[in-house]
């Protein structure tokens, strides 16, 4: 299983702040998880497909890129570019 977290407008659009799911079959990197989420219906497709370019990611609370590896047990977070300070 992996834990997925959504923040800011991703959470608003997807209607949830987190979910647990099995690591998609054959998924080895963040990009694989993104493609799996983009394959869902509705908002997921828009957020992770069409608008995927602006989505940022962290794996186990470290900023990550689509090429970075994932495995069962990971906490994967998706969010827009940060705007703190």
């Amino acid at each position: 299983m992996i834990t997925i977290l959504y923040f800011a407008w991703l959470r608003d659009r997807l209607g949830r702040s987190s979910e647990s799911m099995p690591l998609p079959e054959g998924a080895r990197c963040v990009g694989d998880v993104i493609r799996s989420l983009a394959g869902r219906e509705g908002e997921y497709q828009a957020v992770f497909g069409t608008q995927g370019g602006v989505v940022r990611c962290a794996v186990n609370q470290e900023f990550a890129s689509p090429e970075d590896g994932v495995r069962a047990g990971d906490e994967i977070a998706f969010f827009p570019p940060v705007t703190g300070g």
């Binding site: 977290l5 800011a8 962290a58 940060v82 703190g84 300070g85």
Partner: protein
């Protein structure tokens, strides 16, 4: 060296923070500081700040440690508020204690630039007419942060 990081909903007090920071040592000659407040205008009523609990504290702690190393600080305090904040309210406080003023002020600018681009906070604006909108990242912040790049990203 005293590093203090806090993510909190409540207000902070500069007068209360200073003595804690100054435990960093008698060799210190000055404190550089930045206090960010909710800037009004364009009908803005309030901001709501959301963050990624756990990762936020971890990233801010690394930013403070990087500032300490790079500028030879004796102390660094970073307090960032979350939750709903109305116009004029304080959002963020950075205090950097150093032997000399240039290091203290440069470290303060460094911490702010990295906070803007590396700490997982998101702001939602709330306007007088009830409309709300997530704030988009400013390219200017990425440019400001990039001027510190030497060995790449902090942490």
């Amino acid at each position: 060296m005293t590093i203090r990081v806090s993510v909190q909903t409540t207000i902070f007090s500069m007068d209360a923070e200073l003595p804690r920071l100054m435990q960093g040592g008698q060799e210190a000659g000055g404190v550089g500081a930045f206090l960010g407040v909710v800037r009004g205008g364009a009908g803005l009523r309030a901001l709501t700040l959301e963050h990624y609990p756990g990762m936020t504290e971890s990233m801010i702690g690394r930013i403070a440690a990087e500032a300490q190393t790079r500028f030879g600080l004796s102390g660094c305090t970073i307090i960032h508020r979350v939750g709903r904040l109305t116009v004029g309210e304080p959002i963020v406080l950075v205090l950097c204690l150093a032997a000399h003023r240039a290091a203290a002020l440069d470290a303060t600018a460094f911490v702010m630039d990295w906070l803007k681009t590396r700490a997982p906070f998101w702001k939602r604006e709330e306007f007088e007419d009830g409309r709300t909108a997530w704030v988009e990242a400013r390219e200017a912040d990425d440019i400001a942060a990039s001027r510190w790049a030497r060995d790449g990203r902090p942490g």
